[in-house]
Structures are given as C-alpha cells and as structure tokens.
C-alpha cells in the first residue's frame, strides 16, 4: 500500500508536478515529504487560480493586495474559524509554514491526564480465538 500523494490530482502542462517521493524510505522522511507534498499541492492549486494575464501585472503599477486578496489557498480545514491569524495580519504562506515545521520537532508526546496503579487478580489465561462476523446489509442513519 502506498501513500496517495495529494499532488497527483494536479495536471498542468506548464508546471508539471515533480516530487522526489520514493516508496522506499524511512517514516520520518515520509512525514517530511508529506508535509512538503501538501504544501506544494496547495501552492500549485493557488497558482492555477491566477489568471493568464497575471504575468502582465508586474508591468502595471497597481496595488496587488486588492487584486490578489481572493487567492487564499483552499484547504479542507479552511472553515475552522481562525483566531490564530488576525485579520489585520498577512496570511501565513505555505512556504513559511513548511520552513517553520522543518525547523521544529513537531512530534508531541503528551502525558496521560492521570496515572495510577491497580491490583489485578488474573482469573484465567487463554489463547484468543478469531471472532467471526457475518456481513449483512445495514444502513446507518442519525
């Protein structure tokens, strides 16, 4: 089973997706590559939203903030209300996030809320047996 790259749904002739992902590598490296793939994918999507005349914009003396304000990257979690970035501040770019994530150790080992010991009397010790489940049709509604 292989990790489904988030960039694979992007096809754009002028900007072919090039990534160095290989299926055989260490988990830590995969994690870093997943982060980069995710960042790259969002960046490419953002590029795709820029109209063709965008290259001409550099020749025009204009305030880009008013034109590009709607080019924010769309992600699946974008609708989480965001107090982390104040509206008055500049939106954090994908590149900035990636650099920051690679600078820090992003794994957090959280301790349990509570830890205690209990005395247990072992009643029996037996080998587990497979539990057979019959499939049938059902519908989950809530």
């Amino acid at each position: 089973m292989m990790y489904q790259l988030p960039t694979q749904d992007i096809t754009y002739q002028e900007h072919p997706v090039q990534y160095s992902y290989t299926p055989s590598t260490g988990i830590e490296e995969i994690d870093i590559r997943i982060m980069w793939d995710s960042v790259l994918s969002n960046w490419i999507k953002k590029r795709l939203n820029i109209p063709f005349y965008h290259n001409l914009i550099c020749f025009i003396n204009t305030d880009l903030s008013s034109i590009l304000s709607d080019l924010e990257t769309k992600s699946e979690t974008l609708r989480i209300e965001e107090p982390m970035i104040h509206r008055s501040q500049k939106t954090i770019s994908e590149e900035e996030i990636a650099i920051e994530m690679l600078r820090h150790d992003f794994i957090v080992k959280m301790p349990p809320k509570k830890r205690y010991k209990i005395q247990v009397h072992v009643k029996s010790l037996r080998k587990g047996e497979p539990r057979l489940i019959e499939s049938n049709e059902f519908l989950v509604t809530e």
Partner: protein
Amino acid sequence: MKEYPWYKVVGGKELFQGDIISSCPLILPPPMIKDEIKVDVIEYDVIVMSQSCDLIQKKLSLVLVCPIWELSEFENKNPSYKDPKMKEGLRRGHLPGYHLLNKCEIEKFETDYLVVDFRSVYSVPFDFLTELSRKRNKRLRLLPPYREHLSQAFARFFMRVGLPIDIPPFK
C-alpha cells in the same frame, strides 16, 4: 455555516465514531502475567475512531480510540506550537499524526481547539466503553462531515509505508 455544526451533545450508551469520552481509563499490561499483578492505568480524554456502522451493529469487541488534547495543553507541552505558523500547519493538515478539530461553543460543553493524536491508538473493550459512556451521561459527538474528515486523516496517517532499504536515486 450554522447548518453544519461541528458538534452536538448526546447521551446514552450508543457509540458513534467521533464520540468524545472524557477521562477514559486504559490499562497497560505488565510484561509478565501472574495470578496477582499490579497494572498501570492511564486516563486520557479520547475520541472514538472505529466506524459507526461497526459500532451500531456490535461487530467489534474492541473499540479504537485516540487521545485528544486542548490546543493550549499541546502548546504548553511543545512550545513550537505557540508559533502561529506551526498552528497553521496543523490547521491545514500538513502534520501527519495530528488532526485539529474546531472549538466547541455549546453551553456547558465549551472546549478549546482539540488536537487528535493518531500516534497513540488504544483499543477499549466495547462493553466497557458503552457502560462508561452511559455513566458519563452527556458527551460531545463530532458530526459529519467533520468526523469523516477525521477518519480520512487517520487513514492517511496509518497507510504510510517506510521501507528499510531505499532504491538508489538515478543520476
């Protein structure tokens, strides 16, 4: 988007994926099993990861749960996450192993943003967890499509494959 709330408060012992159980005790077995043993018990706030259909049909004897943390606790443990860029990475789903859930603003059930830790997965006996849920009375339930999004993030984390020997790069 009031019509798509993230959470609702539920009661009873019927479990669904996305149910949040507070202070769920988890038993850590010792390396040797004898007649009388002392075992460590740890408690986490957990979110149910097993599929709702399996839970309703009682097709599981063990329920998969993952610990959850308030984002503020997470930040205190690893101050890197105090940086908005790290939090943004978390929010945008760039960090495998963690998944960010929205704040809950339901009265008496308010929470900060919640971080689900996919690296610590526990299984809890089904009967034990349903009884615990019943005793806890009211609890929060993550609602669709956010719980499917959580499930997808877990699948994406779990399906990673690391191989010991790399194919040398072509030059």
